[in-house]
């Protein structure tokens, strides 16, 4: 019998009025695995992350973390339960310093004694020199790192990463990919929403392709690009309601 995956999403459904953003999505992530979540705009990727991180309650289905149901739990409780995330547009506390941003998460969201110290997180992400600066004075690449630092300071075992590569230059992309792989090598599971295929290829072990709120492919990225349904969605998605 295979061990229970760290995260299991079962027939997840989410509606906004008459629009079904998620329509029975199911997948799992193992410890130390990096799972990519790809699909056209509006396919439900960010909604999926929002449900798993507690920002939205699911209308149907369930989210199991380490075998325990966490669907519909409040985000601050999930943060303290080893699940954290970054945002598509980074959301630091702008008037606070970089250190204070991370300190808040380390203070309130620290889920275990294994969570790294503030200085360790800042050093690891190359933000130590910026510690005393206000977050609003950082460039967007540093704000993305700060978003990641805030999440890492809680010591998560599952990290949801929402389009962190967007807007980074090629050198920053490589560095970010290496950082995410290093986290996975330490046993952290990552769910990475991304559009940049090169970045996904470098980071992910497996991808889920979504369209219209459903998963249509689960496998390696190299196989996904040869899948006829995936190709149809990406190349002819507009004509087919993607």
């Amino acid at each position: 019998m295979s061990p229970e995956p760290l995260l299991r999403v079962e027939r997840l459904g989410k509606r906004f009025g008459g629009f079904r953003a998620l329509d029975g999505v199911s997948f799992h992530i193992d410890r130390g695995e990096v799972l990519g979540l790809v699909g056209p705009n509006g396919s439900g990727k960010t909604t999926c992350i929002n449900v798993i991180s507690g920002l939205y309650a699911p209308d149907e289905g369930n989210v199991l973390f380490a075998g325990r149901s966490v669907g519909g739990r409040k985000p601050h409780l999930l943060a303290r339960s080893l699940i954290n995330r970054t945002f598509q547009s980074p959301r630091p506390f702008l008037s606070l310093t970089v250190r204070e941003n991370v300190e808040i998460a380390a203070t309130y969201g620290r889920a275990s004694t294994a969570a790294p110290a503030v200085d360790v997180v800042l050093e690891r992400l190359g933000l130590a020199a910026e510690a005393a600066r206000r977050a609003e004075d950082l460039n967007s690449a540093h704000q993305k790192l700060l978003d990641l630092a805030r999440a890492l300071a809680t010591g998560p075992r599952l990290l949801l990463v929402d389009e962190i590569a967007a807007g980074l230059n090629p050198a920053e992309l490589l560095l970010m990919a290496d950082r995410l792989r290093a986290l996975a090598a330490e046993g952290m599971a990552l769910l990475v929403v991304e559009h940049l295929m090169g970045f996904l290829e470098r980071v992910t072990d497996r991808v889920i392709v979504m369209n219209a709120g459903r998963e249509i492919f689960d496998g390696r990225l190299a196989e996904a690009v040869r899948d006829t349904e995936v190709v149809r969605v990406f190349l002819g998605g507009a004509a087919h309601g993607g």
Binding site: S53, G54, L55, K74, P75, H76, A79, R80, N84, R85, F87, R91, P92, F93, L94, S95, L96, T97, E100, E103, I104, A105, T107, Y108, G109, R110, A111, D147, R150, A151, A153, T154
Partner: protein, 306 residues
């Protein structure tokens, strides 16, 4: 952000000492008392607006609840002034608890709903049908407990406690969490901050401060009417003073009260006909050029304001 106790004490202690000694050299004690009351109210508003971003236009509701909590305890329970002060705090806290669901709203919706709630409490208190309990629109007289020197001292004590509370919020974990909530509640939640609980604590602390201010106001003036205790200008002044000085600091609201309420009284005595004009122009200038208040003149230059 985090500063030593000394810097806050350097602001608070001279202010408290000056207000304690002022009655010895200045005979208009009621004016001095009003300064203390607005200093308390501005810091109380600071606790909710400065640290969570909620702007309560109906803040006077807590003040009025405190004033009537004090009055009802004296009139119906024959309570001592200090016990009645406790009742004032409890009354405002109770109203705060009842109005906690308003925190689900934000921005203008919260401000309007809060204002409506304060008006509703005023209408209930001033209802002639409740004359046997609240004296309705005819006002209350509390001459049995009139003790201006003692109530002045208690007001100073409340101000000291309020200043200490704001200094603590600026330094404590809770204050940092509240500022995170103000900046971005979603991100704060993902940092592990219990957003609803943090807002509720700030809301109730703010209500308690206004309630105690209302209680000591009732004690000090001893005769008042519902429209006095629920006068909307208490809210407006507390908001303007706080914004003018700079919210989320201890010093900002103090500067706001000393400068603007001082100016208010100077204008009121010398050229009262121009009062609205001068005050209006000042507020327009503030919004245009100093939206973050006087304190931002220092913070923009890299200085930290206690």
């Amino acid at each position: 952000m985090r500063r030593g106790v000394g810097e806050y004490a350097a602001v608070a202690l001279p202010l408290l000492a000056a207000l304690a000694l002022a009655p010895l050299v200045y005979s208009n004690e009621l004016l001095l008392f009003n300064f203390i009351m607005f200093l308390i109210l501005a810091q109380g508003l600071n606790a909710i607006y400065g640290f969570t971003g909620y702007l309560p236009f109906g803040y006077v509701g807590f003040f009025g609840a405190g004033a009537y909590g004090f009055a009802l305890a004296v009139m119906h329970l024959d309570a001592s002034p200090l016990l009645a002060m406790a009742c004032a705090g409890v009354a405002a806290l109770a109203l705060g608890v009842v109005l906690t669901p308003l925190l689900r709203l934000s921005g203008a919706y919260f401000a309007i709903a809060n204002l409506a709630a304060a008006q509703a409490v005023y209408q209930v208190i001033s209802n002639p049908a409740l004359q046997d309990i609240t004296k309705g629109p005819y006002g209350v007289t509390l001459s049995s407990v009139f003790a201006p020197a003692l109530s002045y001292g208690v007001a100073l004590g409340i101000l000291a406690a309020t200043l200490a509370l704001v200094a603590w919020l600026r330094n404590a974990r809770l204050g940092l969490a509240l500022q995170a909530i103000r900046e971005d509640p979603v991100s704060a939640a993902m940092a592990g901050v219990a957003v609803v609980r943090g807002r509720t604590i700030a809301w109730l602390l703010s209500a308690l401060i206004a309630g105690l201010a209302g209680g000591v106001f009732a004690w000090h003036i001893s005769v008042f009417y519902p429209e006095t205790a629920f006068d909307l200008s208490f809210s407006i002044f507390a908001i303007v003073f706080t914004l003018f000085g700079g919210a989320a600091t201890q010093l900002g609201p103090i500067l706001g009260v000393l400068l603007l309420y001082g100016l208010y009284n100077v204008i009121g005595i010398t050229v009262p006909q121009y009062f609205q004009l001068i005050y209006g122009v000042l507020i327009v200038l503030l919004v245009l050029f100093l939206p973050d208040g006087l304190a931002s003149l220092a913070t923009r230059r890299g200085f930290r304001v206690p």
